[in-house]
Amino acid sequence: MKTNGISEKQLITALSSKDQKAWKQFYGDLSPILMSLAMRYVKDYDCTRDVLQNSFLKMFHNMEKFSYQGEGSLRAWATRIVINEALAAIKKNEREDFFANVEEFPDFPEEEISVSHLSESDIMQLIQSLPTGYRTVFNLYVIEKKSHSEIAAILDIEENSSASQFHRAKKMLAQKINEVKLQKLEPYER
């Protein structure tokens, strides 16, 4: 993350010494990505605000402990913090809904599915429409690229539960994508 001629390493030093300017820049650089990240998990706007605020405070208080490990490590660190805060928020608010919805979805031939016609905000909406449990596993597996065993450890569930949740999430999402596709192809139905 090189911005304004300052290297990432220099930024980290400034952040550790609690330099106000550095923190403002850091916030400006990372908050849009972290916002999208948090919204995928938490989905509620106010809750996301809290998650972000808590995350930045945590980063502020723990910056001294962070050790630079190459390009992108700062963003990865920030991402981990936000995900942890988001998961904690979910655990607190939505424990009941986590494993809801055992509908069966028809299997669509997956060669047919494509997301190229969808905008990112469309995709965001689709992901947010998934039930909490599916959504969390889906996010961690597909976008954060965690393995099922890692997901099992993070969410404190069984590994095969993670796999089946993902499978169902995929099917559900596939159906919704298909529905959107159909909608987009049939403007007269809108």
């Binding site: 923190w23 990505i33 916002m35 605020q53 060669e111 997301v115 995709i123 965001m124 995929k170």
Partner: protein
């Protein structure tokens, strides 16, 4: 690949950006940099459910040069208190021995010679009164009550010797005159008691100074009493804030000295004659001790250690200047007595444990910055919950017999106190205090002899910590 669409989705969403909420940075900035400005340590991490209001506790230590100034002031205070201790206003404790020729050796219900009954009743006319006259002021003190408390320490045939103790305020060395109209009760000079019993056999008239008037020598024991100081009491605050209504904390009350007394002859801690049946088949240590010591005067020395006191107090502020304090208090009274001489003696150790409730009202006199001056008054009711005595009979420096006994009649001790105090705030809601004052311990009516009984009036210093809450 089947999951192409997933990879595609993942890649696109990974770097997706959204506008963060408005004013989020301002809120974050306020939180992290306002804290830094105030240099306050945030002890708690905000929980997720609390967004705007952070619950962290804050404190700012304020110990500086002022603390040492006040500590020096308190030290001066304590030194003044200690100086009062050395200023003696003597109260004389008289140990009086009376000899009475009983004519017959009948004892009345109280275990005393029935010949004494005349003196124990209030006399019909003044001629029969037994009085002690203060040589200087001319006032008379009836000794009926003194005689009532007298203990029989020796009796042989018709002669009985009684030992009585009482205190009389006497600021000079004036001898008090003893008038006895009936002429069968005599006051013995103190040193007579150490003589062998058969010196006093036949007729006390022979040994005591003949005549109606005997001189009563004051027996200056080691005890001394501090002057009772009138404590100037004016209003006093405990704390500035009306907000903090409750406070609590530990404190400890120390008397300025210990107390000691001395009796002639062999007595127990309580001044009673030894009626111990401590003996084994082989020997009677008490008899051995007495026989070994017949060549010299024998004294019983009693020493009461300064009481040990610890309390936990809870206070409530009635208004800005006045507070009421109560709590729970523990006191340990330790006493030792030694009857006899160097190598042959009876040693007694007595421990009493009291638990009680103090009540005190304080009122602020003066207050500036972190220092508060106040006056207080109160009382304390304590009940002895346990007590034991250990008696060692030492013959030729060896402990022949040891008796351990639990004290059965555990008394209730009432005391009144007043004084002034200094309170210094060291943290936001924590202060230390010292209260020099005086206390009076009401006679508990028991036969137990304690520091409080020897010296009912005392200078005390109560010190501790106060923590304000709510």
């Amino acid at each position: 690949m089947k999951d192409n669409w997933l990879d595609d989705l993942g890649n696109r969403m990974k770097d997706h950006k959204m506008d963060p909420p408005e004013n989020l940075w301002e809120d974050i900035h306020k939180e992290i940099f306002k804290e830094e400005e105030g240099k306050i340590i945030n002890l708690n991490f905000p929980a997720l459910e609390e967004t705007k209001n952070k619950p962290g506790k804050t404190f700012s230590p304020a110990i500086g040069g002022k603390f040492w100034f006040v500590a020096a002031t308190v030290l001066v205070f304590l030194t003044c208190g200690a100086m009062f201790f050395y200023y003696n206003s003597d109260i004389d404790i008289f140990n009086n021995k009376f000899a009475i020729n009983t004519g017959n050796s009948k004892l009345n219900e109280a275990g005393k010679p029935s010949a004494l009954d005349d003196y124990l009743e209030k006399p019909a006319n003044n001629d029969e009164a037994v009085n002690i006259a203060d040589g200087e002021s001319g006032t008379s003190i009836s000794i009926s009550s003194i005689l009532r408390d007298a203990k029989t320490i020796f009796s042989e045939g018709e002669n009985v010797i009684l030992h009585a103790q009482h205190s009389v305020k006497n600021r000079s060395n004036n001898i008090l005159n003893f008038k006895n109209a009936k002429n069968n009760l005599f006051l013995l000079p103190n040193k007579d008691i150490s003589q062998k019993p058969n010196n006093i056999t036949t007729n006390p008239l022979m040994n005591a100074n003949a005549g109606a008037e005997d001189e009563l020598q004051p027996d200056r024991s080691n005890r001394s009493l501090e002057k009772n100081e009138e404590v100037a009491s004016s209003g006093n605050d405990n704390k500035n804030k009306a907000k903090d209504r409750f406070f609590f904390g530990p404190n400890s009350n120390q008397l300025a000295s210990n107390a000691s007394s001395q009796n002639i002859g062999y007595t127990t801690m309580n001044g009673l004659p030894f009626t111990s049946s401590a003996s084994s088949a082989a020997h009677n240590p008490m008899a051995e001790i007495m026989l070994s010591n017949t060549q010299e005067e024998v004294y019983t020395k009693i020493n009461h250690k300064a009481p040990l006191n610890y309390s936990l107090s809870i206070g409530y502020r009635l208004n800005d200047k006045t507070s009421i304090i109560s709590g729970v208090t523990y006191t340990k009274l330790s006493s030792e007595s030694r009857a006899g001489l160097r190598t042959n003696y009876v040693k007694t150790k007595q421990d009493l444990h009291y638990v009680g409730v103090p009540v005190q009202i304080t009122r602020q006199i003066w207050q500036k910055n972190n220092t508060t001056l106040y006056a207080n008054a109160g009382f304390s009711v304590q009940k002895a919950i346990a007590g034991n005595t250990r008696t060692d009979y030492i013959v030729n420096n060896n402990s022949e017999i040891r008796e351990d006994e639990k004290i059965k009649d555990l008394p209730v001790q009432l005391s009144f106190s007043t004084g002034i105090g200094v309170d210094y705030k060291i943290y936001k809601n924590v202060s230390v205090f010292a209260e020099p004052g005086v206390a009076y311990h009401v006679n508990d009516g028991s036969s137990l002899n304690t520091a409080y009984k020897e010296k009912p009036f005392n200078i005390t210093i109560n010190s501790g910590i106060r923590i304000s809450i709510r």
